[in-house]
């Protein structure tokens, strides 16, 4: 067993932020802190604070963006850091790159850290490409000599040879990014911290960028900390990863497992949700949710659908509304969180008759036709409310999920027929074409 050298170590890193605006309260807190400090006591505001869950309403003015982060990185290792928006990735990166200091804890390092939280930091549009290479390189920690020795390589990698003596304000945005990444790619720190800078440039350049990252870690044996939303890139580049959730490390280990853990936590398969008792069910005195499901044509809860299948969204709820007529509402979102459409129970012919003001259980099914939605993953928002006056009694985002694929089933006609590859468009309706032919 070869002994590894730990090059970077984070011990109990926490970071506290104060919410709201910096205003008149600040000076009183500062004075209070100072008063505690000169008496040799602990900062009184360190004890307060809540975990940083964006969606919940907290009571404290202080939140912990990071709490007790511990990890070690071996020399030559590529560590992935993944997590949802607001999980604390950026805060961790900022601390690692010394942009801000942790509230508690310490990071120990045996190598120079260079960070790429953004490409092209400090680019001045008035300066030429060449001048900007020097300026940006120096900002990232290179000396003039180092840059001069790599100048030709940098220019070649960027592919901007023709424009190199033109002010960068004349560059297209893509060219600026290429030039900026090229500078960063030739940094030579022992530890490189990279935020999602790969999500820039065209496909060809992205490939080049990923390749360069692989070279950096594999051939040059440097340590890389890589933060990304792109699970593909994480899997390609890293062997180990940590998953952050609400400011804490929830998983440390193989990237494969980490990615799986991350995806399921975000896009968990939810084909059925039901509530046993009225008390535990979401809702208010007008309506309570009982049971929601995604069903296939056989009436079974299902996640994977073929594009040629009809999808049923079933919603059962207790209706206590004596004043107005309740309606169930669904909204369908695709993987990019685009709302495709919303639909209401009141489109049913029986709706008027069924909502007669008496307490009852309403069982509804909305049918999404076959050959209508494009391939992909979908989430369903479920709500119950009434209109005029408009009132929402309950609403659950991400209540259900399902996925649609074109499996090219035999004897099934779809939009794609038998053509492979991605099909453009966010929906994929099978439309009627009328064709005549003249000779």
């Amino acid at each position: 067993m070869s002994k590894k050298r730990i090059i970077l170590k984070a011990e109990n890193i926490s970071k506290q932020y104060r919410l709201g605006t910096v205003g008149t309260g600040t000076i009183s807190h500062d004075l209070n802190r100072f008063w505690y400090r000169i008496r040799g006591k602990e900062d009184p505001y360190l004890k307060v604070g809540e975990s940083n869950d964006r969606s919940t309403k907290g009571t404290s003015e202080y939140v912990w963006a990071l709490q007790d982060i511990n990890f070690e990185v071996e020399a030559g290792e590529v560590l992935g850091i993944i997590g949802k928006n607001g999980a604390g990735k950026s805060t961790l990166l900022k601390i690692l790159s010394k942009v801000t200091a942790p509230t508690t804890g310490v990071i120990k390092s045996r190598g120079r850290i260079a960070s790429l939280l953004e490409v092209g930091t400090g680019f001045n549009p008035e300066l030429t490409g060449r001048e900007n290479i020097y300026l940006n390189g120096a900002i990232l920690g290179m000396t003039k000599k180092e840059i001069t020795s790599k100048l030709d390589e940098i220019i070649e990698f960027s592919g901007c040879q023709r424009y190199i003596d033109t002010p960068t304000k004349r560059y297209s945005s893509g060219m600026t990014v290429r030039l900026a990444f090229a500078v960063a790619a030739f940094l030579e720190p022992e530890i490189l911290v990279v935020d999602e800078v790969l999500a820039v440039g065209d496909a060809e350049f992205q490939k080049k960028a990923i390749g360069k990252m692989q070279d950096i870690s594999r051939e040059e044996g440097r340590t890389v900390l890589f933060v990304s939303h792109d699970m593909d890139a994480i899997l390609k580049l890293t062997k180990k990863a940590i998953v952050l959730e609400n400011g804490s490390v929830v998983f440390k280990g193989n990237s494969d497992e980490a990615v799986r853990k991350y995806i399921t936590s975000k896009n968990a398969i939810k084909t059925i949700q039901s509530w046993e008792t009225i008390d535990s069910a979401p809702g208010n005195q007008y309506a309570k949710l009982k049971n929601i499901q995604v069903l296939n044509s056989k009436g079974k809860a299902n996640y994977d659908f073929d594009v040629s299948e009809e999808i049923s969204i079933a919603i059962d709820y207790w209706d206590f509304n004596a004043e107005n007529k309740n309606t169930a509402i669904i909204q369908i979102f695709n993987d990019y969180d685009v709302l495709l459409f919303s639909s209401n129970e009141f489109n049913a012919p029986e709706w008027e008759r069924f909502h007669d003001g008496k307490e009852s259980i309403i069982n509804t099914v909305c049918k999404i036709p076959s050959n209508f939605l494009a391939e992909g993953k979908y989430t369903v928002l479920v709500a119950v409310g009434n209109y005029n006056p408009n009132r929402i009694h309950l609403k659950i985002e991400n209540a259900l999920t399902f996925s649609i694929r074109d499996n090219f089933l035999e004897g099934v006609v779809t939009v794609k027929k038998n053509i492979g590859g991605n099909w453009p468009g966010i929906i994929r309706p099978l439309l009627k074409w009328e064709v005549t032919k003249e000779i």
Binding site: K94, S97, A101, P102, I107, T121, N124, E126, A138, T143
Partner: protein, 290 residues
């Protein structure tokens, strides 16, 4: 993972919640010296890009200020400048004052103005204000050219005769004091501005007011003579000594007070060190509050 071999190797550095009180890392600043020069170059090259007069603007601003001062303070108000051509007197005052004022004004904005760069990448933050002071030094050099131009003019045409003596070696030293004073005060203010924006407003007009008690457009004696009850304002103002002494060296007008210069030197060192400490403390966390 704790059972990895016991490593005797030292950690290269640690990232901790707070800087030690005097942890200015000079070695690190030295490593980034190229960046310092590139910032200076950038600031000088880009300021007057796409202007027709270019660096001439550096010359016009002090020249016109000096002309207006001459008209108002000397011709209208009748302040005597001790046998020295008033324009030359004012030009010397304005140029040196300007160096301090621009250093202070620009460095006091360091954290706020560079928040976008500072928020993305680390380099010793003190590089930024240092580059401003050096950039302005270059500007000062250019502005001194116009002073020399008028000097020669007055000597040739106006028969204004004055022999420069070996006191001139004090002049660079005075400029350095001015720079450090501007830098020190600027660092203090820029650190406080990250939390309390009020100071931004204070600085702009504060610097203007300060000019009137810094003996820029009048000899130091004049105030002591005419407004003895406000004499202390000048007496305790280190800037007044620098300007008065510079004029004494360059134009042989006013007095060279050794006591005043020593006071100025001590004041500058204290302000500068205090500025460094507070700047150093701020640079770690300012990004959260700026």
């Amino acid at each position: 993972m704790n059972n990895s071999e016991p490593i005797n190797e030292e950690w290269l550095f640690e990232i901790k919640p707070k800087n030690n009180f005097f942890s200015l890392n000079l070695k690190e600043v030295w490593r980034y010296r190229d960046l310092l020069l590139l910032f200076v170059k950038r600031d000088i090259v880009t300021v007057y890009k796409q202007t027709i007069l270019g660096p001439l603007w550096y010359l016009l601003q002090p020249l016109f200020t000096a002309i207006i001062f001459t008209i108002i303070f000397n011709n209208v108000a009748g302040i005597k400048t001790g046998g020295v051509p008033s324009l030359l007197f004012n030009l010397a005052g304005v140029i040196i004052w300007n160096y301090f004022a621009t250093c202070l004004n620009e460095t006091s904005d360091t954290f706020k103005k560079n928040a976008s760069i500072f928020g993305k990448v680390y380099f010793p933050r003190v590089i930024m204000p240092m580059s401003i002071v050096i950039t302005n030094l270059v500007k000062l050099g250019i502005q001194l050219l116009i002073f020399i131009g008028f000097y020669i003019y007055y000597v040739a045409i106006d028969k204004f005769a004055f022999q420069l003596d070996n006191k001139i070696i004090l002049f660079p030293f005075l400029i350095v004091i001015m720079g450090f004073l501007g830098l020190g005060l600027g660092m203090i203010i820029s650190s406080l501005v990250t939390k309390y924006r009020d100071l931004t407003f204070l600085v702009t007009f504060g610097v203007q007011l300060l000019m009137y008690v810094s003996a820029v457009m009048y000899p130091m004696d004049l105030i002591k003579e005419k407004l003895p009850q406000f004499g202390w304002l000048i007496e305790y103002n280190p800037l007044a000594y620098v300007i008065e002494t510079s004029r004494c060296i360059l134009l042989n007008v006013g007095e060279l007070s050794v006591k005043g210069l020593l006071y100025t030197l001590v004041f500058t060192i204290v302000v500068f060190l205090f500025g460094l400490v507070i700047f150093n403390q701020t640079e770690k966390k300012f990004i959260d509050t700026v």
